[in-house]
Symmetry: C2
Subunit: 343 residues, 2 copies
């Protein structure tokens, strides 16, 4: 790192206009430079809008101003912010159109770190051909990042939280608990020495470079017969939160089989007690949690590697965790145990 | 104020979910509550996206955490933030569809102040039937507000910065310098005792409750003949900045007649030297600065009360300020004198 070096150019050396000009290389030239960006939404499609704010020291620890406490690189902070927003679009069944970036920065942040942050966002967006279509930079005592993601979806293909029905099965598109385990390994490098190095690297990568599951959406549309409704959300705040939110919005309950929840390789053997807690409440795995009629779910299971059916929607309210092997005591899940940002 | 009163409910008492639920009364019930909002863009229209970040202590002084230094009420901070974003939509020639709100908040902020902030936004949006369609709340050491505004425009009616041509006249839709004068009166209540009380109130109101000029857009579309292009932007960073940005994007120059710039009532008599500086560089007047063929500008002048023609686009580069009465020395305008956020 170069902080303290008098030769390092800082944000305050460029000013807002200068910095914005410098960052335009990350944006398509034809949509930036005016008071707003112009985008096309295809005929018949609805516009999907989702927004997310991240603050240094709360949601990530870039430690721009105090590099000693950095646990996330600027590149990874950018990647994860973009991934979280693309995941929200996936959770709506949408195809991405673009994102806007609002950045609050202390004047002493090195310009190179801001460019790293943008590079992380652009690299996460690139596989989905999604541009940064505008944004705003302003001085702030703390680094903050607000992303608004825009997408498009055909009305009957929108995934909603409120349309689950008793008898639907609950399908998750991949493993849970990995991101939280990766964070623990980053915070406590002395932990997990018994993990295989490939498993360890995989857990850390799950935290640093999560992949939004936009790839799932076209597969939903290929289901034959096509379900008459799509229900679901992403597991950004944990699997428990996702199921609870869907049940609340749909006025139904659910049963989750704890033994069916797919865990990252190595995790269950490493910390069997923690693994389930992290899967349910850890958050940031950015998988999709879908409620579908059983035949549709079975078809999806066959084409979506890593997916699993973890439970069933019930008419009785409440979300119950149980174990199909009969060894586990039933447990009622609750939002209170989930991540509470002001807690 | 009620800070320090143990009975005041603070953000941390509700948590993120609780606060979001409480704020849903400010949002239409049919578009919130999912991972993203769903909006319709009319067929043939382009989507317009613009984004703005405001930080307590930098762009406004709500002083949520330190109420002693408050110079903006939470209501006015909300109003002004919404107005700034609607003004960006007006500057693109767009009709508004909705805004998203990303709010960073310290845990000790009273909930009542957050509701005031939202009420200010909603009241500014109401005349334009524009809903808050979503957003995000998160813990932050400093209060920050990111708004992304969405609008729609027919492709040939979009107002751009880059299409000014030599010979176009420069029309402003209203007075300049008022917002900055109002801020000075708020910061220094002992100033301006010689102002008429109605003028004083008007200046302060111009700062606290600016009105985005979305009303101008339908009038542009009624011009007969319709111009083949619409050029302009808003004067949120000052009249000088607007003209300079348009000239840079269009690769042209401009002459501005200082005596033609409309100033708020009372301002020129009160502080004649400051008045021009505030009009050019003060910012936040949120008027539109339009470049049009002379006949179109004359027509607009007739239907738009308070508008004025202040200059002409030239082929020679550079923006020159001159006085039609011959008493003023010519002066070259420069972006460096404008508001620099990291300065």
């Amino acid at each position: 790192m170069q902080e303290g070096d008098a030769g390092v150019r800082q944000v305050r050396d460029l000013g807002e206009q200068g910095l914005l000009q410098r960052l335009q290389k990350f944006c398509p030239a034809d949509v930036v430079g005016d008071d707003g960006a112009l985008l096309s939404v295809r005929q018949g499609y609805l516009l999907v809008v989702t927004s997310d704010t991240l603050v240094d020291g709360v949601h990530f620890s870039v430690g721009f101003a105090t590099p000693g406490v950095r646990t996330t690189s600027a590149y990874d902070a950018g990647w994860r912010s973009a991934a979280a927003n693309l995941s929200d679009l996936a959770a709506m069944g949408a195809a991405p159109l673009g994102i806007t970036v609002g950045l609050g920065l202390p004047g002493e942040v090195p310009i190179a770190l801001v460019e790293e942050l943008y590079q992380g966002m652009v690299d996460c967006l690139q596989p989905f051909n999604t541009p940064i279509v505008g944004g705003d930079i302003c001085r702030s005592p703390v680094t903050s990042l607000n992303i608004t993601a825009l997408g498009e979806v055909l009305p009957h293909q929108a995934i909603r939280r409120s349309t689950a029905q008793p008898g639907d099965v609950i399908l998750v598109t991949g493993v849970h608990g990995a991101s939280r385990a990766g964070l623990e390994l980053l915070l406590h490098p002395e932990m997990g020495q018994e993990l295989r190095s490939s498993d360890r690297a995989h857990l850390i990568r799950a935290h640093q470079r999560p992949r939004p599951r936009l790839d799932v959406i076209p597969r939903l549309h290929l289901l034959d017969p096509l379900p008459d409704r799509f229900t679901g959300m992403d597991s950004s705040d944990g699997l428990a939160d996702a199921v609870l939110q869907i049940c609340r919005a749909s006025k139904v309950g659910a049963q989750i089989d704890r033994h069916q929840i797919p865990l990252a390789a190595g995790l269950a053997n490493w910390l069997p007690e923690k693994a389930l807690e992290w899967a349910l409440y850890g958050g940031e795995d950015f998988e999709l949690v879908l409620c579908l009629p059983s035949p549709s779910a079975q078809m999806l299971l066959n084409v979506l590697e890593g997916s699993a059916i973890v439970g069933t929607i019930t008419a009785e309210p409440g979300v119950v965790l149980w174990g199909s092997t009969g060894q586990s005591v039933e447990q009622q899940l609750s939002l209170d145990r989930g991540f509470q940002h002001f807690g």
